[in-house]
């Protein structure tokens, strides 16, 4: 089967790749472009560890075909930090012990970023709903929820 050309922006950089027709965005990002932040978990859309943003919307990299991302802007957890300066969400995750094994963390961060970009001052219920598609088997979720709320509060304080 002929490989297909795809162009998109990945964390602000223009990228052009040839992909297999049924290749997933997760496979392209990891194997093709060497960004190993999004993880492969279930491959069924259940665990959320492959969550990336496509044009600002949360998407599951394992269920998104790369050929459907032509011209789109893709964001992964690798693009969150500004050089040595962590993104407020990353800093809050560290501060609130929101990562243990860390496997879910890149997906959690991107799900949380999608929420805060759309809703800078979410309620606890809205945070829970935003990460409902992301499974964590270590933390019990409470530190993650607290970290996202703290990041929102910090961003709000910076804006004020």
């Amino acid at each position: 089967m002929a490989r297909m050309p795809v162009q998109f922006r990945l964390n602000g950089s223009d990228r052009a790749v040839f992909v297999e027709p049924a290749e997933t965005l997760l496979g392209t990002i990891r194997r093709g472009l060497g960004d190993f932040a999004p993880k492969f978990g279930c491959g069924q859309g259940t665990c959320g560890v492959c969550t990336v943003l496509v044009d600002g919307e949360p998407r599951l990299g394992c269920l998104t075909l790369s050929v459907t991302c032509e011209g789109r802007s893709i964001e992964t957890a690798s693009g969150l930090a500004d050089g040595p300066t962590l993104h407020p969400l990353q800093a809050a995750f560290m501060e609130h012990f929101a990562a243990q094994c860390g496997f879910c963390t890149p997906g959690m961060l991107m799900a949380a970023k999608a929420l805060l970009d759309r809703n800078p001052d979410p309620t606890r219920v809205e945070v829970v709903e935003a990460i409902a598609g992301n499974v964590c088997r270590c933390t019990g979720y409470e530190p993650i929820i607290n970290a996202i709320l703290a990041a929102a509060q910090q961003r709000g304080a910076r804006r004020a």
């Binding site: 297909m4 297999e20 049924a22 859309g45 959320g48 496509v54 599951l60 269920l63 409902a132 598609g133």
Partner: protein
């Protein structure tokens, strides 16, 4: 031959490919078909992606609603005119699933998925199928689901239905073991228009209680012409299981689904669900 992907602009070209190639499948959001590829269920054939904007059309402002097959659950949730459909749309996966999962894909989701289709069934929806050279054929959703079970449907362009009679006339309940996101034990949708305190034209639909979403016609007959009081609800619960064929799967056993359906139906009719 591995899985191929073809991207086409128009519905006519998509319909011709689907008619000529029995192995071709129309790609909605990919939440079901790409999963099949990942799991090795689909190892060959063609995925067809149609870019025709008619698939993304939303006409939700009037009494007659029309939603393109490519409209996503996130698009439904973002539309205030479709607030009565927000509960079934929110029941589909997490946020990252809802940005891709489409109405058209949900029509073809195997049990226990397809909760949005359950809601559409209770709204007496019809599906518009591509019929060649710009033509269209309208078919009741119930008939489409029967055809789906037999294996032949065609290219679904949109779904249409009348706006529910009132804010309290349409009710939806998804029963899942995991909250806020979990696969259905079962789902129930009810459209209960009332005339002078009596139900007229009741529609009840179940999800995960058969091979496809199905109408609870025995319950509808019980409700017709009666007030929604305790005696009516008790009679509806007695008739709840007629025509159901639930499956045993990883979410629940057939026995469990049969046991809990009347309980949840009673709660939905009594307005006791949150």
């Amino acid at each position: 031959m591995p899985v191929n992907v073809r991207i086409v602009q128009g519905l006519q070209e998509a319909a011709e490919i689907l008619a000529a190639d029995r192995g071709a499948r129309l790609l909605g959001g990919g939440t079901l078909l790409v999963r099949d590829i990942n799991e090795g269920v689909m190892t060959e054939g063609t995925l067809l992606r149609a870019l025709d904007p008619v698939l993304l059309a939303i006409n939700a402002g009037g009494a007659r609603i029309e939603l393109g097959a490519g409209v996503t659950m996130a698009m439904v949730l973002a539309n205030r005119d479709l607030s009565y459909l927000h509960a079934p749309a929110r029941g589909i996966g997490g946020p990252a699933v809802r940005t891709t999962a489409t109405i058209g894909g949900n029509l073809f989701a195997s049990t226990p998925y397809g909760d949005f289709t359950t809601a559409l069934l209770a709204l007496d929806a019809v599906v518009t199928l591509h019929a060649g050279f710009g033509g269209a054929r309208v078919m009741p959703l119930e008939e489409m689901l029967t055809n789906r079970a037999r294996g032949g449907v065609g290219l679904v362009i949109s779904v249409g239905f009348n706006r529910p009679a009132g804010a309290d006339a349409f009710r939806f309940l998804k029963v899942a073991r995991v909250r806020p996101k979990g696969i259905s034990v079962l789902s129930i949708a009810a459209h209960l228009p009332q005339n002078a305190g009596r139900i007229s034209g009741a529609r009840i639909a179940y999800g995960a209680m058969g091979p496809t979403p199905l109408r609870a016609k025995a319950v509808e007959r019980v409700l017709e012409g009666r007030g929604l009081d305790a005696a009516t609800i008790a009679a509806a619960k007695t008739a709840a299981l007629e025509g159901t064929q639930p499956a045993t799967d990883a979410i629940a056993s057939e026995w469990y689904r049969r046991e809990v359906l009347p309980v949840h139906l009673g709660r939905l009719l009594a307005g006791e669900t949150s």
